[in-house]
Amino acid sequence: MRANQLTDLNVMVAGQGGDGSLTVTSILGELLARRGYHLYMSRNVASRIKGGHAAAMMRGSLEQRGCQGDNIDILLAFDQEAVDMAASRMAANGVIIFDTSDGDLNREGLADSIDIIEVPFGRFAVRDLRRNLFKNSLSFGVLSSILSIDEDEAINCLRHSFQRLPEDAIVANINAFDSGRKFFSELPQQPDLRMLANVEREKHLLITGNEAVAFGFLAAGGRFFAGYPITPATEVLEWVQKYGSRFNVQVTQAEDELAAVNMALGAAMTGVRAMTATSGPGFALMQETISHAGSAEIPLVVVNCQRAGPSTGMPTKTEQSDINMMVFGANGDFPRIVLAPGGPHDCFDLAVQATNLAQQLQCPVILALDQMIGQDSTTVEPFNLEAVVLQHGKRVDAATLQEMTEYRRYEITDDGVSPWAVPGTPGGESLVTGNERNEWGLVSSNPENRRNMVDKRQRKLDSNLHLLPRGNSQGDADAEIGLLGIGMQLGVIEEVWQRLSAQGVRIKFLQPRTLWPVLDETIEFTNSCKRVYVIEHNQAAQLAHLLLGEGANKAGIKSILKYDGQPFGAGELCAKIQQEEAGQ
């Protein structure tokens, strides 16, 4: 790699948009991927279909990254609002490509060192919204020039991205692209050109967490999905609709979340692996049924892809403010498992585990995602399909039943898990219920039976802790400073940890992947630190409170909270921690 080649490039495309604005970043992504870069792609949109301000962000980096970069190297701004929004994040040597159709650029707040290219998009007759694609191809012409990519390579990518369009549309786009190239080449003053590296890397997947979680469920034998659309979880439903048919997956769009979760519950009772997916408001509606699955001991997997709450909140913005609801919501005491993947690859792995765990422990398993993990695309290593092994827990079939003298659906066992015959199995007739009942499934409010049943259910967790996914941890075990965060924080925490370590700070981090029950390792990690920064996207420090409740030392916990719908940046976090540390 040559010294002036970019190791890390952040591009933002923003304007009054709609989906079109993603096109530029995706063509560019294709190009960078071919050059061996890793990608992290996200967007920032309003909750409306067209119009409203929308931004697409793309990070290309030679090291794998799980979050956006601190600074924007190249901004493609279709209006002033885009510039104002991005101004504080512009890299000192950044470039802004500005659409002058609606007026000149107001440079206020922009460092002089930033290169500005004003493109009179109007001149290229692309003002008509219906020809947005040309606008994108035109800007890609400019962009590819700045990145000193030769025409053939760029057109190649363009063609690939538009492969589903008819040839005449492709040609029209290439013409627009050429205009952009020409415009750039004729600029009186050209900005410094950037050079991309060209390295080999293994083939990766560019995938979102929502897609990966659906894939993991499928790989782990999931064959029934009932859902109801909701931002930012809808893609899980859409994925199983798209890919499920090949595997015979039954997918139902229900009339609401109550129906969705109860259909999944019904299917789960037949022994089919079943899942539903939703976001905060829908998950709130599902509370009663989650308690029911806990009581009746039915394997049920529920994805909650969190968005900014409370209530309708900000549907397209990220947050981690349903931790409390996932861990503590719903009526009564019952065993549940909450798993929180740290990125799309982990989404796949934990979806596999969740699907198995539900079978093994016969209880609800919740997959805690957040909007970023759910919807941002990241390059990740191919999923390890060979490692997917199905666990069936205590399912019994007709032959086994025949050898048993008694079959009690809610038999009180040492590990709390009871044998389970599904409907259709001769000799396995039984009652499944959310009432308290005896071992036979018959309603009982006998106090002693009640105690035994509550204890039995709790024992399912207590005696199976070894099955639960361990956290992701790095750094010197003796370090006094710790970072702790879940879900989408992993990407940024890893980067912060690397940077601070590089500066000589002795620091370690933990991303718990089992959120409930809180594992000993989590409390041990917390209590092994003098100071542990618990990084959360919510206002109430829900994760920190959870840890405290489970025995973490209060003194060491420092909460770093953000709840404005925007992700943390690594630089931002480093600065916060350094400032805090300086105060010690």
Binding site: E255, V272, T289, E406, Y407
Partner: protein, 282 residues
Amino acid sequence: MTKTFQPGDPIWCAGCGHYGVRNALQAAFQQLDVESHQTMVLAGIGCAGTLQNNVNAYGFHAMHGRVLPAATGVKLANPSLDVIAVGGDGDGYAIGCGHLVHSFKRNTGVVYILMNNGIYGLTKGQNSPTAETAEQAFDGVQLGLSIAGSSFIARGSSAAPTQLQKLMVAAIEHSRAGRGFAFLEVLSPCVTYNDTYPKWAGRMVDVDTITGYDPYSRTGAFTTVHDLNAENRFATGLIYQQDSIGSERQWLDSGQAAVCDLDIDPALQMSDFREIMDDYGV
């Protein structure tokens, strides 16, 4: 034989209409040689929603109002089961009303027996949607007729056991024939809080006794039911049917296997999984 649960005794008050429903259901099971392990009885919450404890089958107690989505999930996952959903009028017409509408529309082959007593029995006597009070009483049969997808709508009474058994058999057969959702409302008095045995007596009109009545005509059925209601009477019998294809049968007819029968071993699907990964390759 493996010993498994023995159905318990009903918890109902002496004289409760729900006994008649259980008896007719058991008789229908017998008449059709229904195998207990191939049958699942799902129940809502309420006095009516305890019937599953008193029959020999796989049983499930759903949350209040959610018996239909749960039963739909069961049937879609394992269409070979006889899936019987039962519940009260509070369960089905109040809290579960939205699911009822969509069950008619979706037309999945669940048999749904709704015990209508005009009251909330288990919570001690509040009005249900069918209560004859200031508000207009609600008629689930009319509701069913208004949904284009509905394919079997019947009403019986626990005071007319022969007809009731016949309707149950017809409902199960409709579902077994793959025609879809079979809805059977049973007038089943609550002797403790709303003893409608006397109130309802003499007001039921079996559509079979109406000359020229055509259960295949939706608008004809609607008019008959409506006009009888206007005279303070109830249509009973097999009120409407359609030779539709149930959603679970459509699935099977399209050549797909029941999901409960699939071999889900990941080793068998490796190449398909890899193809998906290729879609994401960069």
